[in-house]
């Protein structure tokens, strides 16, 4: 019996994973052969450290690297290692703290002064590729990068180039760019954390807040996704495509959310995620939905009381539905206008390599994309990374997202949490959902 159940569960899990939204036909099968088959003389590589011949003529290399502030000191160490590894060349590499969420905007504003090597989340790739400012992964490196990182991250990093060929545009760095439920385990028990109702009730009892940033499309899309709405890549590279979904079901789910929000007014608070850690620190927050990037500060605020789990379920007409989130990856990209393109590629390859990923997992708690590191006990035994992984099975991939996606989704969230929103008004909810979808698909 147990065995059957296990097989069944595995089946369900795979099914959900495959139903995940980023599965658009456009990106499947990053043809790993395409790199070498195009007649380049470059042979493949088999580690993150490459032969000097790849540098070409470059020496006295000057590079700029953008990394999130928390990672700056570690990246600096890794760069020292990099310099030692390639001791025949001289490097002058500076590392600057630059939030990953801003990287694309900064690149688009003026790529020529942006970093040569920079971190970026998966959803910004298409913008950079469209604008032609990001350099694809060097041909000789593609096979190695493809084989050493998880399939999903490669798939999400592969986009069509201007000639319509599938091209891998960036080096996968993490497999953890998503949010999960984080809670104070003296307020919310692991059992409570399984359902949204339980979590809210526990927080209410303790007179503490449950924080969820409903005004930000990145989080608010959970409302729609949970109800079965699914995105499916882009049409013509601009318009967001949606998979057919059961509108009544989606509306019912939205109403269930709105009812809960109304019922737990004062407990369910829509605030910026930064309030989660702050709330834990001063004891006003019982639980919240926050992302992997805040794990460290949340752990620091809660200490022993730290609890993490995948997002809870919500009861819709008697059926417990798993909350579906947005989930993405992080990459290391190379600036197309770098003055030292070869060195920049080699550095990016190095920083995205197995050793560096492992170090970042150990010291920063980032979830690796490298398949070897993923098997490491440090990953498999981490409560947070497991929560993220569990949640990633119930998620939409954050890739090929239209720039018009976020604002209407945030607006949907704002409307649902607004005082004057009536959860029982089916017609209004339906209209809101339809308007949101129309707006996402409208190019202005």
């Amino acid at each position: 019996m147990k065995k059957i159940l296990a097989i069944l569960m595995a089946g369900v899990l795979t099914a959900t994973a495959f139903a995940g939204c980023g599965e658009g036909a456009s990106n499947t099968g990053s043809d790993s052969g395409s790199g070498s088959s195009q007649g380049s003389q470059a042979a493949g590589i088999d580690s993150a450290v490459v032969d000097y011949k790849y540098f070409g003529e470059e020496d006295n290399v000057k590079l700029k690297v953008w990394a999130p502030d928390a990672a700056v000191s570690l990246i600096k160490q890794q760069i020292e290692e990099f310099k030692k590894t390639y001791s025949e060349k001289t490097f002058d590499i500076t590392v600057i703290a630059q939030g990953e969420s801003d990287a694309a905007t900064q690149m688009l504003n003026d790529a020529s002064v942006a970093a040569d090597v920079f971190g970026l989340p998966s959803d910004q790739l298409n913008k950079l590729v469209d604008a032609g400012v990001i350099a694809p992964v060097a041909k000789g490196f593609v096979d190695y990068v493809t084989s050493s990182n998880s399939e999903d991250t490669i798939k999400a990093g592969t986009l069509k180039n201007s000639k319509g060929e599938d091209t891998l545009y960036a080096y996968p760095e993490t497999n953890d760019n998503g949010y999960y439920l984080v809670y104070d385990n003296t307020v919310v028990t692991a059992e409570d954390a399984k359902t949204l109702e339980g979590t809210l009730e526990a927080c209410k009892k303790a007179n503490k807040k449950f924080i969820f940033d409903a005004g930000d499309g990145f989080y608010a899309c959970t409302f729609a996704f949970t109800g079965g709405v699914k995105i499916d890549g882009l049409e013509d590279g601009i318009t967001q495509k949606f998979v057919d979904y059961d509108e009544d079901e989606a509306v019912k789910t939205l109403q269930a959310f709105a009812r809960l929000i109304k019922k737990y007014k004062g407990t369910f608070t829509s605030l910026n995620v930064k309030n989660v850690a702050s709330g834990f620190a001063n004891g006003t927050c019982g639980a919240g939905v926050d992302g992997s990037w805040d794990t460290a500060v949340n752990m620091k605020s809660l200490g022993d009381k730290f609890g993490a789990a995948k997002l809870p379920t919500i009861n819709v007409d008697g059926e417990d539905k798993q909350l579906v989130s947005m989930f993405g990856y992080k990459y290391i990209g190379v600036n197309g206008s770098s003055k030292y393109p070869a060195s920049a590629q080699i550095l990016a390859l190095y920083l995205a390599g197995e050793d560096c990923q492992k170090q970042r997992t150990e010291e920063l708690g980032w979830g690796p994309s490298n398949i070897n590191v993923q098997k490491d006990p440090i990953v498999t035994e981490s409560a947070v990374l497991n929560a993220i992984k569990d949640q990633s099975l119930n998620s939409c991939t954050q890739v090929n997202i239209a720039s018009t996606f976020w604002t209407p989704m945030g607006n949907l969230g704002n409307k649902l949490v607004a005082d004057e929103w009536d959860p029982e008004d089916t017609a209004a909810t339906k209209k809101l959902l339809q308007d949101t979808i129309t707006n996402i698909r409208d190019e202005g």
Binding site: G35, Q38, S40, Q41, A42, K53, Y54, G56, T105, L108, N109, A111, S112, K127, D130, A131, G132, V133, A135, P136, V137, A138, K139, G140, F141, N161, S162, K209, G215, I238, K265, G266, T269, S270, L271, N275, V334, G336, S337, P341, A342, Q345, S403, T407, P408, G410, N411, L412, N414, A418, D419, E420, L432, D435, T436, T438, N439, D442, G444
Partner: protein, 500 residues
Amino acid sequence: MTYVEYKQLNPFQRFAYNFKKFILNIPHALAKFFKAIGRAIVRFFTGIGKGFKNYGVTFVKGDWATKLSYLIFGVGDIHNGKYYKGILFFLVEVLYAVFMVSFGWTYLQKFDTLGTQVTHQDFNEMGIPTTVYGDNSMLILLYSVLTIVITVVVFAVYIANIKDAYRHQVLRAEGKKPTSLKTDVKEFLDGKYHITLLSFPVLMISIFNILPLIFMVLIAFTNYDQSHLPPGTLFTWIGFDNFGSLFNFVDSAAKATTFIELTKWTLIWAVVATFSNYILGMIVALMINKKGIKLKALWRTLFVIAIAVPQFVSLLLMNQMLQTNGAINIILEYFNGGVNPQIQFLNSTTLMARMTVIIVNLWVGIPYTILSMSGILMNIPEDLYESARIDGAGPVKTFTKITLPYMIFVTTPQLITSFVGNINNFNVIFLLTGGGPSTEEFYQAGRTDILVTWLFNLTMNSQDYGLAAAIGILVFIVCATLSLLIYNNSKSMRDEEAFS
């Protein structure tokens, strides 16, 4: 209405009368305004025509050196003994030639297409992607504008050179010597002092205000946006399409709706913000300056601090205080029986957010009004009050008969400046609400966004440079027409020398 009748009216009626007159006058003033523009254009072209005529006449009358000046700058001046000026003229020509050959011409020749060679990526023999640079439309446009501006300036120098050569030729024929360098320098400190004073500011303004403006005005006629973004891609001329998309409710409904709705709100905002600040600020100023109120300096100081603290600090604080867990809701908790009312000031209903913005703007603006009013209130001639008191007027009557009319008369120009200022009031909206509450009806804007904050979002977030420039031009046209109309009709402008 005759003068006698007018004099018999009370100040309010006079104000109403003047106001009505002003409104009725707008069509006439507009007509006058456009006629003046028309005349200016005609004058400009007849000026050019005359210029050409003079150009020819001077050439016929000129001696060999003057004639040579038509080709080589400064020859006439050198020939006639005005050495330093001649050398300067010549230097200008040399520098211009060098500039054109080495820089200007390469960009100017691509001005019509804004570039044809697309930048693209290629792989070198090691499989490393490299960028093959083509044309950069943005730089072509910017440097072309620079070249054109420089050319216009050099042309002006060229004409001056010819005129100067001929003038010195005539002087020489009359047997007079050209003025020495020393006399010229002296002249620049006296008779031509305005040139000395204005040349540096004008130069700076030309480079950093006028040149960028010409550039941005031209951008409004291109498709410079997220999918035409140099250096990766090119953009090109598209005529009036950007303006068209703001009024086309069929093909670009979202943009057009946003534009119309935001324009309405911008105007409402500007009117309400200006008048609420003005009236309430005046009342507070009157309270502070009332006879018998002590600690005037203290009261004023309390308000002045609001000016001195940088707005990005005070408004960000306000933003936090207005959140559901912010200070305002906490204070309201005491009046609400210990239950936090969780009022969503900034992101629930449009009305609530707009009211909040206007009220917070009072907090920002009233101190300025107080400062400027205080000075004026102290300046009201004392004998006016004196005579009113002798006539037995009470405080209310003194206020309505003397204080109010005086203030309105004196501060009209300020009112206009602050109206234009509010149309462009970026900080309050941007820092306080960030445009929210969000809406599904607008393109890249929220319910409290005004045109300039929308313009900012379009430039910084969605790289819609062409559209943003078009909006900027429309905002400018509204502001400029309004202010020119009022300035040129306002008393203080016409009586420029009234006080002196």
